[in-house]
């Protein structure tokens, strides 16, 4: 048993590092380091750089343009990206709809959609959640009624992340009301430019509108956009939901944030002539986070090792999700603790691209409260932590 990389893996690690240093745009690095939000153009630009390098889709099979990497290589890549602060590609196309298209789509659908996802030519968003469904996804009410060669879609989706940028949306829609709720759901791809679609931003408590409601009013969707069979959508979506969610634990990102936190502590006066990095109580809380992160990291590595020898991913991903999000939220609390009064100004705009007003306070401390607020979503979205605990109870403990 060892956690060492092979010589080849170490070479690969070095290759990724060099690539990031050379190719991750300096202006994006500046934004990431200063809590400035990336624009759609920023993200697409970076994803196209990855595409050019052939590294856009580590999780895809080679036949569709994937990297053909081992699980360990994927892990190294994700880790180095996270440590460097380079954002992962937006997951909705690459990691969410693409695997479903690959597994259940027709040959035509594969030809039509996958290359544009790989090349970041098309921005996808997700249409699962609904205003009254919440964690109970399968109770969705958006309907798609077959009318000749088309479906007519009516209803609303919510918590639609970055839908304001999207060209396409993949949706779960109800195509049969007469059967058990899971058995009347279909998986439909919809062009966001279709008449009858409207997007309404939802402003969150940090002042940003990163999620939306998407409304469908008699939206006509060609039947060829149906994935697989009608009323089998829940099965497809479930596969996706339990699909390997790379980097769900957020270890590399947490490491990067803890490094920043240590640095911030060393720069933060305690008010009595020392810095907060000399405050033994704060040091202890920091140590607890570091220790938790190591336990999380090795839990992730254990999962990875199991995948590498061919085992299917199990309910471990629920642990990684719970512990990873709770740790991220704990780090937010510590940043907030260091930031104190500096975090109170509410000027969300100063974290947008192109803000030209006077900035109040340094980026890290000025964004501390907003990040603390925003990251409460981590334990709610992506399958709430309560749902993850239910999964552990059922799938592992047999309760």
């Amino acid at each position: 048993m060892n956690a060492d990389f092979t010589a080849e893996e170490l070479d690969f690690q070095q290759e990724v590092r060099t690539f990031l240093q050379e190719e991750f745009p300096a202006d994006l690095k500046h934004k990431v380091d200063n809590n400035i939000r990336l624009t759609k153009d920023d993200m697409v630009r970076w994803q196209k750089i990855l595409y050019k390098k052939g590294w856009a889709a580590p999780t895809w099979p080679e036949e569709h343009g994937g990297t053909g990497w081992s699980h360990t290589q994927r892990h190294i890549f994700a880790t180095e990206m996270g440590l460097y602060g380079a954002p992962e590609p937006i997951p909705f196309g690459m990691k969410m709809v693409a695997p479903v298209i690959m597994a259940y789509g027709s040959e035509e659908q594969k030809q039509r959609f996958l290359p544009d996802i790989l090349a970041s030519n098309v921005w996808w968003c997700q249409g699962y959640s609904e205003p009254n469904a919440g964690s109970d996804l399968a109770s969705l009410k958006t309907t798609a009624v077959r009318d000749g060669d088309e479906y007519v879609v009516n209803g609303a989706k919510t918590w639609n992340t970055l839908g304001q940028y999207a060209d396409w949306i993949f949706c779960l829609v109800r195509t049969d009301n007469t059967v058990k709720k899971q058995e009347g759901i279909s998986f439909l791809l919809i062009d966001m430019k279709s008449p009858g679609i409207s997007v309404k931003p939802i402003v969150l408590i940090d002042g940003f509108a990163e999620v939306n409601e998407v409304f469908f009013d008699d939206v006509r969707v060609p039947a060829e956009n149906l994935i697989g069979e009608e009323n089998k959508g829940w099965t497809y979506a479930k596969v996706l939901l339990t699909h390997e969610r790379t980097n769900i634990a957020g270890v590399a990102r947490a490491k990067r944030r803890l490094n920043a936190l240590r640095k911030l502590a060393a720069e933060s006066p305690d008010g009595y002539g020392n810095t907060m990095s000399e405050n033994s109580m704060f040091k202890k809380r920091l140590a607890e986070c570091e220790i938790e992160l190591q336990a999380l990291e090795y839990s992730e590595l254990r999962t990875l090792a199991a995948l590498s020898v061919g085992n299917a991913p199990g309910p471990e991903s629920s642990i990684l999700k719970i512990v990873g999000t709770e740790l991220a939220q704990k780090i937010d609390e510590l940043v907030l603790e260091l930031s104190g009064y500096h975090s109170l100004p509410y000027v969300p705009d100063q974290f947008e691209d192109g803000f030209e007003g006077d900035r109040i306070g340094p980026g890290t401390t000025a964004a501390a409260a907003l990040n603390y607020f925003n990251n409460r979503k981590l334990s709610i979205f992506g399958g709430s932590n309560e749902i993850q605990r239910n999964i552990i109870c059922k799938a592992v403990l047999g309760l």
């Binding site: 109970d136 002539g273 907030l336 500096h342 509410y346 607020f373 979503k377």
Partner: protein, 377 residues
Amino acid sequence: MDFSYTEVQQMLQDQVQKFVQKSYDFDTRSKLIASEAGYSKEFWQLFAELGWLAVPFSEEDGGLGGSAVDLMVMMEEFGKAMLVEPYTATAVLSGSIVAELGDETQKTGLVSSIIGGELQLASAYAEAQSRYNPLNIQTSASGEDDAIVISGTKIAVENGANADKLIIFAREQGKSTDKAGISAFLVDAKAEGVTLRGYTTVDGKRAAEIELEQVRVGDTDRLGAPGEAADALLRAIDKATVGVSAEAVGALESLLHKTVEYSKTRKQFGTPIGTFQALQHRMADMFIECQLARSIVMMAAMSIDSQDDDAEKTKAVSAAKSRVGKAIHKVGQEAIQIHGGIGMTDELDVGHLFKRVTALDIQFGDGEFHTERYAAL
């Protein structure tokens, strides 16, 4: 031993409750935050008429007695509705400082104006490097010709941009964390050399960064004796800390109430989420947190009112702020979590209550800070 409310306290509670119910719904509040001043001058006049602005002052000063328990009763109700009016800044913090340090002339001019609702004040003590030590002051005040010249930068000055006058704490002597040497000066907000950068806070209040460049004041603008303002500042902060702790108790109560009600109506998997035992027990824990927070704030308020020893009062205040801080994290986070995504949206009040209690935790030092201060006392 008597834990009942006096007639005055009962009246204050009723008045605030009625005011909130009639005039201060979530929409009104949102509009006030978006308005230029960030609060309602009309309401402020009403506060004056109802005598609320007189609560922090002794009867000799024309106030209602200055009891911390009175303050607590009232500010708890403020907290429930997340009032944005600068009550703490003007009436409690600045008011207490003026009342303690001001000479008769100064008091006559200022206290009655505060009580009358005609004067907005802001106390500027915190600086970028001071964290939660109010005595960590580098802003300097030194004699030059006949004047005193003040230079330095103040942060997190609540009500700074709306204040008619600022109380600037500056150092006339000593090193940056010395208790001795700190003076308080009354500075006109429009005085030359004063630059204000106002902003809205995460919880919808207004505050400012203040730059003081060679601001000239006279000897008569000093409140109290030269270099001896520290004790009054600390006492005022202790009292205001009880006030904001009570405000937090009220806001926590609202969070609990709204979460419980939401859980009764929100359905998942065919049943209200309030029937899930895991959530039920967590709401029971939220209730316990609210009760403990309330109890310890009562303790601190009574200690301020009855104790003679400043150190004992300070310890009681730190105990309260520490425990309330813990409740804030727990109840605030659980309220959002149980609400789910909807609790994260700007359009619902719950998220704003969460932001309010988070800001109240920070104000005058967060729970961790006060736990350490308590342990050190």
